[in-house]
C-alpha cells in the first residue's frame, strides 16, 4: 500500500521541504517570543501549532504566480511564498528595510508585492474580499492563477467573510478560503463563536464545496488545497477549507491564555504539535533520521541567528519618513 504522502503525490523531497519550512516558521516565531520577553521587540503574534496547515496549504499552490491574502498568523504561508527569515525579523524589529511595511505596521501584518503577498491590516477578514477581487481580475484577464486567503474561525463571523465568499460563489471565481480553526478567538471558544458544527458547513450557502480537515497533518492539507487549486484553475470556482489545529501560544504577547484555558488542556495540546507529529512521520517512514533532523535544525538556527543579528543592527526609518507615501509621489512605485 502506498504511503499517505505518495497517494497525495508528494515525494520525500517535498516532505523535507515542507518540514523545513514548518520548522523555520516555528523557530522564527520562538525567537520573536524570546526577543519580546527580553524587552527587545514590543509585540509578537504566533503561528505556533498552525505550521502544518499553513505550509501544507502553501506548498499546494504555485508560489511563482498565485496570490495570497494571509492573516496575521501565517508565517508558514509567507515563508513558502518567498519572504525570508531576515525580512520577518526586520518586521519584528520595525526596521526601515522591512519589506512588509518599512516598520510602519506591527509584526504579522504581511505584504510583499514581489511575492504576490497582499498587504494586510488589523481589522480582521478585510482580506477576504481582496482575494476575491484579485481572482475577479484574474478571470477578467484570463490568467490561471489562484487567490488564496486565510483567516481564523472567529473572523469567519464577520460580514466580509459572507460578502466575499458569496461574491466568489456567484461569479465562480478561483478563490480558496482557508479558515485556520485554532478553537479560540482570543479567549472565546469555538462554541461561543460559531453556531454551526463546522465553519465549513457555511460553504453550502455560498454554492461551493466546504470541507473540515486535520490541520495538524500537512499532507492532508496539501491534498485538499491542491484539489481546490486544480478545480479553481479549471474554472470550476471557489472552495472553503477549514483546518482544525491548536493555538499553542497565547493570542499574542499581550495575552495570558492561562486565564481562560486549563492546565490540562494546555498540556494535552503538546501531543498534537505538528512539528513533532510530522517529524515522527518522517522518521517512521525512513525519510529523516536523527542526523538529518539535527542538520536541518542547525541550518535553521544559523539562519535565524543571522537574521536576528542583522535586523537588530539595521537602522530605523528616519522620523520624517512618517510623512511619505500617503499618496503616489514622483518617482514612486508606478
Amino acid at each position: 500500500m502506498a504511503l499517505k504522502h505518495e497517494e497525495a503525490g508528494l515525494t520525500t523531497e517535498d516532505l523535507l521541504n515542507i518540514y523545513e519550512t514548518m520548522m523555520m516558521a516555528r523557530r522564527v516565531d520562538e525567537r520573536m517570543w524570546l526577543l519580546n520577553r527580553s524587552g527587545k521587540i514590543p509585540f509578537v503574534i504566533s503561528c505556533q501549532g498552525q505550521e502544518a496547515a499553513q505550509v501544507g496549504a502553501a506548498y499546494a499552490l504555485d508560489n511563482t504566480k498565485d496570490y495570497v491574502a494571509p492573516y496575521y498568523r501565517d508565517l508558514g504561508v509567507v515563508l513558502h511564498f518567498g519572504m525570508t527569515p531576515k525580512e520577518l525579523m526586520l518586521s519584528a524589529f520595525a526596521k526601515a528595510e522591512d519589506p512588509n511595511s518599512g516598520g510602519r505596521q506591527m509584526p504579522g501584518h504581511f505584504g510583499q508585492k514581489s511575492n504576490r503577498i497582499l498587504t494586510g491590516s488589523s481589522p480582521v477578514t478585510t482580506q477576504v474580499p481582496h482575494a476575491v477581487g484579485v481572482a475577479l481580475a484574474g478571470k477578467m484577464k484570463k490568467q490561471d492563477f489562484v487567490a488564496f486567503t486565510t483567516l481564523g474561525e472567529g473572523s469567519s463571523n464577520q460580514g466580509d467573510f459572507h460578502e466575499g465568499l458569496n461574491f466568489a460563489g456567484v461569479h465562480k471565481l478561483p478563490v480558496i478560503t482557508m479558515v485556520e480553526n485554532n478553537k479560540y478567538a482570543i479567549s472565546v471558544p469555538f462554541d461561543r463563536q460559531v453556531a454551526s458544527k463546522n465553519v465549513s458547513d457555511r460553504a453550502v450557502g455560498y454554492g461551493m464545496p466546504g470541507v473540515t480537515i486535520d490541520g495538524n497533518d500537512p499532507i492532508e492539507v496539501y491534498k485538499h488545497v491542491k484539489e481546490a487549486a486544480d478545480r479553481a484553475r479549471r474554472g470550476e470556482g471557489p472552495t472553503l477549507i477549514e483546518t482544525v489545529s491548536e493555538r499553542m501560544t497565547a493570542h499574542s504577547s499581550d495575552d495570558d491564555h492561562r486565564q481562560y484555558r486549563s492546565a490540562d488542556e494546555l498540556a494535552a495540546q503538546k501531543e498534537k504539535d505538528p512539528i513533532l507529529t510530522f517529524g515522527a512521520y518522517l522518521k517512521e517512514n525512513g525519510i529523516m533520521d536523527d542526523e538529518l533532523e539535527k542538520e536541518i535544525n542547525d541550518r535553521i538556527m544559523k539562519e535565524v541567528n543571522e537574521a536576528t543579528d542583522y535586523a537588530e543592527n539595521a537602522p530605523y526609518a528616519e522620523p520624517e519618513h512618517a510623512l511619505k507615501y500617503v499618496y503616489a509621489e514622483e518617482g514612486g512605485n508606478d
Binding site: 498587504t119 491590516s121 477576504v128 466580509d160 460578502e163 461574491f167 499618496y327 514612486g332
Partner: protein
C-alpha cells in the same frame, strides 16, 4: 461643444476611459443591464459586456473590498454605490483598507480605485437617500474626495479620478443629474484633482462652496448684482485634501467670506475651510466668517415642509450673502 446633463457627462467620462484603457471596469448594484438606478452606466453593459460592467450582489463591503483587490492587482475599478447613504457598510474597506494600502505597505502596494456615489438632497429622498457623507471621509489621509458641480467639471474630474494612482471618492449630486446642464468638450481632457475653481469673479464678498450649492450661489449672486453687490464664488471641487492656496486667495480678495454646504453644520467640510481662513487671513477679514449649512439633525425628513426647512436653496444663500455684504 455639446450641451449635456451632469449625469451624461459622468457616463461619457466612464465610456471614454473604458475605451481608452481595458483595465477600467465598473462594478456595483444594478449597473449592468439596467444601467444603474439613475442610469449613470447606461449603454456601458451593451458596449463593454458583463465582464467589464459587473452586477454585484447587494453587499456594499464586497463592492468596495472586491474592487480594492482588483485595484491591488493592477486594474482600475470604478465601484458604484447606489446612494452615498448606503456606503456605510463599506466604510471599513474604504478607510481601513483603500486609504492606507500605499502608506501601510511603504509604497509597495497601491489602490487606484474610484468610489462613485450619488449624494445630496432636495429629491424627496428622506433620511437615507439625501445625505451628504463626505465629512465622514474627510479626515482620512490617503483618500481624495471630489464633488463636481458642473457637467464640464464632472467629466474632467472623473477621468482624472480614474487615472489617479490612489483611491478617489467621487460624489455626484443626484439632484444635479438632470437639473444641471452645461457645455462639455468632446475631446479627451482631465481636470487636476486638488484644485478649486473660481466660478464667478467678484469684489465685495466671497462665497466658498461645492456641489449643487455652487449653482444656488451663482443664482443668488445674479440677484445681488442687481443691487450693486459683486460676489466672488469659489467652487472647491476637491473637498479633501482642500486647495488651501485657492481658499486663502479667495478669502483675502474680498475680506468677507460666506461658506455654504448642504451637510449638517458641525463637523462639516466648511468648518475646515473656516479654520484655514482663520489661520491665514485674520487680518484680511472685514467680517466674521459666516456659515450656511443644514441644521444639526441627523438628515432631512421626507415631508416637504421639513425637507425644505433642512435643505439650503438660492433664497437662503441670497439672504446670507446680503447679511454679509451689508455687515
Amino acid at each position: 461643444m455639446a450641451v449635456m446633463n451632469y449625469i451624461d457627462a459622468i457616463t461619457l467620462a466612464m465610456k471614454e476611459e473604458m475605451e481608452r484603457d481595458e483595465n477600467v471596469f465598473v462594478l456595483g448594484e444594478d449597473v449592468g443591464k439596467k444601467g444603474g438606478v439613475f442610469k449613470a452606466t447606461q449603454g456601458l453593459y451593451d458596449q463593454f459586456g458583463e465582464d467589464r460592467v459587473v452586477d454585484t450582489p447587494l453587499a456594499e463591503s464586497a463592492i468596495a473590498g472586491v474592487g480594492i483587490g482588483a485595484a491591488m492587482y493592477g486594474l482600475r475599478p470604478i465601484a458604484e454605490f447606489q446612494f452615498a447613504d448606503f456606503i456605510m457598510p463599506a466604510v471599513n474597506q474604504i478607510i481601513s483598507e483603500a486609504s492606507r494600502i500605499r502608506y501601510r505597505s511603504n509604497n509597495d502596494w497601491s489602490c487606484p480605485i474610484v468610489f462613485r456615489a450619488p449624494f445630496g438632497g432636495g429629491v424627496h429622498g428622506a433620511l437615507y437617500h439625501s445625505q451628504s457623507v463626505e465629512a465622514v471621509f474627510a479626515n482620512q489621509p490617503g483618500l481624495k474626495i471630489v464633488i463636481p458641480s458642473t457637467p464640464h467639471d464632472a467629466k474632467g474630474l472623473l477621468k482624472a479620478a480614474i487615472r489617479d494612482e490612489d483611491p478617489v471618492m467621487f460624489f455626484e449630486h443626484k439632484r444635479a443629474y438632470r437639473l444641471i446642464k452645461g457645455e462639455v468638450p468632446e475631446d479627451d481632457y482631465t481636470i487636476e484633482i486638488g484644485k478649486a475653481d473660481v466660478k464667478r469673479e467678484g469684489e465685495d464678498i466671497t462665497v466658498i462652496t461645492y456641489g449643487l450649492a455652487v449653482h444656488f450661489a451663482l443664482q443668488a449672486a445674479e440677484r445681488l448684482a442687481e443691487d450693486g453687490y459683486s460676489v466672488h464664488i469659489l467652487d472647491l471641487r476637491t473637498v479633501y485634501p482642500l486647495d488651501q492656496e485657492a481658499i486663502i486667495e479667495a478669502a483675502k480678495k474680498t475680506g468677507k467670506v460666506l461658506l455654504v454646504t448642504e451637510d449638517n453644520k458641525e463637523g462639516s467640510i466648511i468648518g475646515e475651510v473656516a479654520a484655514i481662513i482663520a489661520e491665514h487671513c485674520l487680518f484680511d477679514l472685514d467680517a466674521p466668517i459666516k456659515r450656511l449649512a443644514g441644521p444639526d439633525v441627523p438628515a432631512m425628513a421626507y415631508a416637504p415642509t421639513m425637507e425644505k426647512y433642512f435643505m439650503i436653496n438660492p433664497d437662503k444663500v441670497e439672504k446670507a450673502m446680503r447679511e454679509l455684504a451689508e455687515f
